[in-house]
Amino acid sequence: MMRRTLLSLFALLFASTVSAHAQSIGEVRAKALFNELRCVVCAGQSIAESNAELAQDMREQVVLLINDNRSDAEIRDWFVQRYGDAVLMNPPLKPLTFALWFGPVLIFLFGMAVTGLVLLRGRARLRNKS
């Protein structure tokens, strides 16, 4: 009988926190990073939400890297180097994604302009009438 799935470094590492009363900083950081990395076998979920084996591997890797004193940015880079930009749930800001990141502001500015026009014309009609 194979013993896959059983090794969860993540839990082993935090086994020591049992009955302790506060979460360690590493635990909080790991949790945040889990939400930022995409599980590569599960259609758009983050590794925090998936029980897939590769997601477990990735979670363990995150914990290993945290214990290796890497910063959050370094850990993200570690995964990007090996999986490409698509591994990030939050796409990085670069020329390719300018439209994505600045789009919402542009949409809003356009909407503001139209709204302003509508409000001004509404007021103009009101004045013409009176």
């Binding site: 390719l96 789009g103 949409i107 909407g111 007021r123 009101l126």
Partner: protein, 655 residues
């Protein structure tokens, strides 16, 4: 045999829908018919089509219930050992059946539109709308018959079906798709009425009154459908997430956003005739987005956890329907819109002005969600795959919702242009509202503080005040309406509707904030006897027990339950929770079934992840404050929507 009749009924509905469209949309009545006669014919045909499609659907339901496995859909998705409820819901739990449900709702709504009165002024509008509705029905009937015929045969007929998947036997899963479809398809009627108004070249207050009950009803069911989907994800999927910004979720949210804008701008059209061009635009866009949602889901276009059978031919067909509706509707819009007379004027600070801002934020939100959802497809087309996930949407969508929610509480107090009062009232009203908001937020925070040690921050505090502002706005709206008629029992239905919907959203926002920002969660490795603190709660693992698979009752998995005791401060056991881990030997796959204890201040949420090599058990233990409020708020919103639909229904046809 029965299935043959059902199939035949569906086939006959096709030429009838075609006939209905032709007769209704011809510029002049054919063969010297009078307009009244033409309307009678169109209404009759519309009712017959609705009856035929209902027969077809009933036939399919019966095939599922009686286990007629000569029908391919039944063979693949049903089983004699299924409970009756899930045999029935199995009818729409698959592609073919769900598309037939689409067509059913389309045809039945068409029939309902035909049934409602024959007021002289709206006759012309109604006939044209029935024509447009017939065109949509025709398109989806053709889609059903040519690409996804639910009545295809398997010969010789098998004795037993293959559809006994216990994972799919779930009440949430049974109700979620029909509610969403009611919402989507409800907007087909508003679309038909919008196109009819464009054809006619006029959209006055009578038109707005005709559209509103349909828009309200569609909005209500869509709200219920989305909320139920979220509830299901939270309670059944066991990851503690209630909204993941998954493409399929986003695509149901898009018509909700524009639909919400639509029901609000319709009020302006009804009251003062302003914003009619914009409202017509929303009427078209909302239904187009609903078809887009169906298209993406049915063609597997975007990466989503919601897996559906993918067939490019089906996708191409819906793309064709989508393309035709977009080209025809927007072409007509571009042609006719400039001809519409502007309505009466209004000052920027008036109900009209407030609703313009409501529309600004809702449309911006819809634009942002649309951009984020389709952006990965765009970059992929250029060979640069990307992921756009939850963090992006949280960062870009939520900022536009804050001003919307701020405005939403005040909106109902701002008088319409023709009823404008003094400024003094307004300032006093604002101060009252602010005080109420702070008070409500304080009460909620104190309740949580008294009960636990929540993670508080300035942002959370401000967000709570925002939710309190919203809830207070809803409550004060009711107070104001009650004072105007001098009795809370005489408040009009529409007053109840707006108060409930707005207060409901306020309560839901409390749940949303606490459920995402104040969650206390830990994943720990426990051995039997170990105890651990999560927030104010103390848990102790008592032990783990296993149950074997029992295929005779459809349980094809081995379960391991972790019995976790919830302890009181004195160490006594208050309750036992048993999260479950299921192992499916055939698929070599395992799933987690969370155990959730719902309390009125929050959920205790336990999941059993796995066994550790050192013999311990890895559990995720969490305290999720105010999550039940999220769904309670949604229920209030749906109630408000229902009352609003009834109120709007009563106003139809009034001059």
């Amino acid at each position: 045999m029965m299935s043959e009749w059902a199939h035949l009924a569906l086939v006959f509905a096709l030429p009838l829908a075609f006939m209905q469209a032709v007769i209704a949309l011809l510029p002049a009545a054919p063969m010297g018919w009078s307009d009244a006669f033409r309307q009678s014919v169109v209404r009759a045909v519309s009712l017959i089509t609705a009856a035929l499609v209902s027969l077809a659907f009933l036939g399919l339901v019966l095939a599922f219930v009686t286990g007629d496995f000569s029908v391919k859909t039944t063979f693949e998705h049903s089983h004699t050992a299924k409970p009756l409820l899930y045999k029935i819901s199995g009818t729409w739990g698959n592609h073919e059946g769900s598309i037939l449900l689409w067509v059913l709702i389309l045809a039945v709504f068409g029939g309902l539109l035909a049934l409602r009165g024959t007021e002289g002024q709206t006759r012309d509008l109604r006939v044209r709308a029935l024509g447009v509705q017939a065109l949509i029905t025709l398109a989806f009937l053709a889609f059903t018959l040519f690409t996804s015929n639910p009545f295809e045969r398997v010969l010789p007929a098998p004795l037993e079906g293959r559809g006994l998947n216990p994972l799919l036997q779930d009440i949430g899963l049974a109700l979620h798709p029909p509610l969403l479809y009611f919402g989507y398809v409800g907007f087909s009627i508003t679309f038909a009425l919008t196109v009819a108004a464009l054809l006619r070249g006029e959209a006055d207050h009578i038109w707005a009154r005709m559209v509103r009950p349909w828009a309200m009803l569609a909005w209500t069911t869509l709200t219920a459908g989305i909320a139920l989907g979220s509830w299901w994800a939270y309670y059944e999927l066991g990851w503690g997430g209630f909204w993941a910004w998954d493409p399929v979720e986003n695509l149901s949210f898009l018509p909700w956003l524009t639909g919400t804008a639509f029901i609000h701008s319709l009020m302006v059209v009804e009251k003062s005739g302003a914003l009619r061009v914009w409202t017509l635009f929303l009427g078209v866009v909302t239904f187009v987005l609903a078809i887009l949602g169906t298209f993406v889901v049915r063609s597997g276009l975007l990466t989503s956890v919601h897996a559906f059978a993918v067939d490019p031919a089906r996708g191409a067909f819906i793309l064709l329907i989508l393309g035709l509706s977009v080209i025809v509707a927007f072409g007509l819009f571009a042609w006719r819109a400039p001809q519409f007379k502007p309505g009466s004027g209004f000052a920027p600070v008036s109900r009209e002005g407030a609703l313009v801002l409501n529309n600004l934020f809702l449309s911006t939100g819809a634009g942002v969600v649309l951009l984020g959802t389709f952006f990965p497809l765009i970059t992929e087309a250029f060979g640069q795959p990307l992921t756009v996930g939850k963090p992006y949407f949280d960062a870009t969508f939520l900022p536009f919702m804050v001003p919307l929610l701020l405005l939403m509480a005040i909106g109902p107090f701002v008088p319409w242009q023709r009823l404008r009062g003094s400024t003094g009232d307004r300032v006093r009203g604002l101060i009252t509202l602010l005080v109420v908001a702070m008070a409500l937020a304080t009460i909620v925070i104190v309740m949580l503080l008294w009960q636990s040690k929540p993670r508080l921050s300035l942002t959370v505090g401000l967000a709570m005040i925002l939710a309190g502002w919203l809830l207070g706005g809803g409550l004060l709206t009711f107070v104001q309406r009650a004072r105007a008629v001098r009795s809370p029992f005489k408040v009009a239905l529409s007053g109840w509707a707006v108060s409930l919907a707005h207060a409901g959203l306020g309560i839901a926002v409390f749940g949303l904030i606490a459920g995402s920002a104040m969650v206390q969660e830990r994943t720990v490795n426990l051995k039997p006897g170990d105890s651990v603190d999560v927030g104010h709660l103390t848990f102790r693992l008592d032990g783990v027990r296993e149950t074997q698979a029992d295929p005779s009752i459809g349980r094809n998995y081995i379960s391991a339950f972790a019995d976790v005791a919830l302890l009181t401060g004195q160490g006594a056991t208050k309750a036992i929770l048993s999260p479950e881990r299921r192992f499916y030997p055939v698929r070599q796959d395992s799933t987690t079934e969370a155990d959730i204890r719902v309390t009125w201040l929050g959920d205790i949420f336990l999941a059993f992840n796995t066994q550790a090599p050192d013999g311990g058990f890895i559990l995720t233990l969490s305290w999720r404050p105010l999550i039940p409020w999220l769904y309670f708020g949604c229920i209030l919103m749906v109630l408000g929507g229902l009352l609003g639909s009834i109120a709007a229904w009563r106003r139809v046809g009034r001059a």
